[in-house]
């Protein structure tokens, strides 16, 4: 009989019956959902920024404008001659690791998304593009190169991607800042909800807490019971939030992939990024536990 009494021991504070539990769990689920999706966004932007930064540092593009001539064959041959001169010049540079001219098929593929499927791009006068990969850590005097290129192949121009990439990076940085603000707000709002729910519960169970105090319980004894209960709610809420967030992230990723142009597709989540996202229930559990614990400690200071 005593064994039964011990194994069926109930907590002194019947926190599992609190009406605010469901609200708190839903609140935490929503918070983890928002946090997960936003975090995936931040991590994607980070990976995109890293790729773009590498692009700035490691490559440049040379564009050779097409020659307009009534004789198409002759015009193409002249353009290719200009391209060859540019390639020769670039290959002679110590800082260059690899020079790759884009073939017709690659050029068509690049321009296709901008013109749509209905137009046959083969008939259009196409500029030639040369992809130049620089050696790691190479320092290039772009002005000097541009001048040399203009002399060797007057129709060729140098694009080091810096201008447009810098704008994109600034934009991405702004998005990242916005996302981080959202993350902080989500944490603050969740902590606030836990704070008020815990305070309400303390009011509801004031009678029991007074008895516990009179039996010699320290505030930590009460705070630990709240922390355990709220940690569990935080974890379960976090699991539900994650279950909602994962498919949402995949849906957004798929939608992003459909935007062609080679920019969005560079945003990928690494294994570490995924493990961070999957650890969100633990994170919500810790936040819930700490908030509840200190709320109880702070509130009980007003008791005798």
């Amino acid at each position: 009989m005593v064994y039964k009494a011990m194994t069926t021991r109930k907590k002194e504070l019947p926190l599992q019956d609190d009406s605010s539990n469901l609200f708190l769990q839903i609140m935490i689920s929503i918070a983890v959902f928002l946090f997960g999706v936003t975090l995936a966004g931040v991590l994607s932007i980070n990976s995109m920024l890293a790729t773009w930064n590498n692009s700035i540092l490691g490559s440049l593009t040379v564009q050779v404008m097409p020659i307009n001539d009534t004789n198409e064959e002759q015009a193409k041959a002249q353009t290719l001659a200009q391209q060859e001169k540019a390639i020769e010049l670039l290959q002679a540079k110590n800082e260059v690791e690899k020079v790759t001219p884009l073939n017709d098929e690659q050029l068509q593929k690049l321009i296709q998304p901008w013109l749509g499927d209905g137009i046959d791009v083969k008939d259009l006068p196409m500029p030639r593009l040369i992809d130049v990969k620089l050696k790691k850590g190479a320092e290039v005097d772009f002005m000097q190169w541009a001048e040399e290129l203009a002399q060797a192949a007057p129709l060729a121009s140098l694009d080091n991607h810096k201008l447009w990439l810098n704008k994109l990076i600034k934009f991405a940085d702004g998005l990242k800042l916005l996302a981080l603000t959202v993350l902080i707000l989500v944490v603050l709002i969740t902590s606030g909800a836990i704070f008020y729910c815990t305070q309400t519960s303390l009011g509801l169970h004031k009678y029991i807490i007074e008895i516990l105090h009179l039996m010699g319980a320290k505030d930590t004894y009460v705070a630990q019971q709240y922390a355990k209960r709220t940690a569990w709610l935080g974890f379960i809420g976090g699991i539900y939030g994650l279950i909602l967030a994962i498919p949402t992230i995949f849906i957004i990723a798929n939608l992003a992939k459909q935007i062609e142009g080679g920019i969005i597709s560079e945003a990928r989540l690494s294994l570490i990024d995924w493990s961070v996202i999957f650890s969100l229930p633990i994170f919500s559990m810790v936040i819930a536990m700490i908030t509840a614990y200190y709320t109880v400690k702070k509130t009980l200071e007003k008791f005798m």
Partner: protein
Amino acid sequence: MKNSNYPDSIIEMQNVGIRYGQGAEVLSDIKLSLKRGSFHFLTGKSGAGKTSLLSMMYLAQKPSRGIVSVFGKNVNFTNRDALAMLRRKIGVVFQDFRLLDHLSAFDNVALPLRVCGMDEKEVKKRVTELLQWVELEKHINAPTSTLSGGEKQRVAIARAVINRPELLLADEPTGNVDNDIAAKLMKLFVELNKLGTTVVIATHSDKLITDFAYPRLHLQNKTLRIYRPIDMVNPGGVHGL
């Protein structure tokens, strides 16, 4: 149980007054020195302030003025954790029992041991023994909400003494039990007192006071007077016993 680290007085009160909100004082200029190992009855008419005085003794309330020292510590300058440690040395039987109705008799009695972090095996041993002694072994798993008034009272008393307190405060502890149980409970209090526990029992029962020759703390006109057992028939009293 005598501990040389503690002063001889378990409770000291000097010029203590207590009021609720902005109201008039319910107790004024209380002076009291409760010696270690003593046994007192606390008497007074209803509303005389017995519960207020007891609540200061079991550290549920601080005085509005004056100094209250419990186990040598001035309660006004003792931090919350230290107060909790002092409360662990005090057993209290409340007039309204103050049991946790959603818990079993076992869990209610085990409460003071568990808040101290005692090992569950020892908790089991002590609680079972005591519940058998107060003849409640049949109700060990019953929620206290299902118990009768007398049974609740015995659970409350078991909870108060389970931790072998140095100070036992009881508010009408025999009010809801029959004479046999009352005698048995009083015997328990007397035995605890012989082992060194300081006991204060608030009561209206003249029988209890005459049956047991202990001094009496009497509250009247907001102040406290102390009578020797011999003065029972002729209250005129000796102060500051």
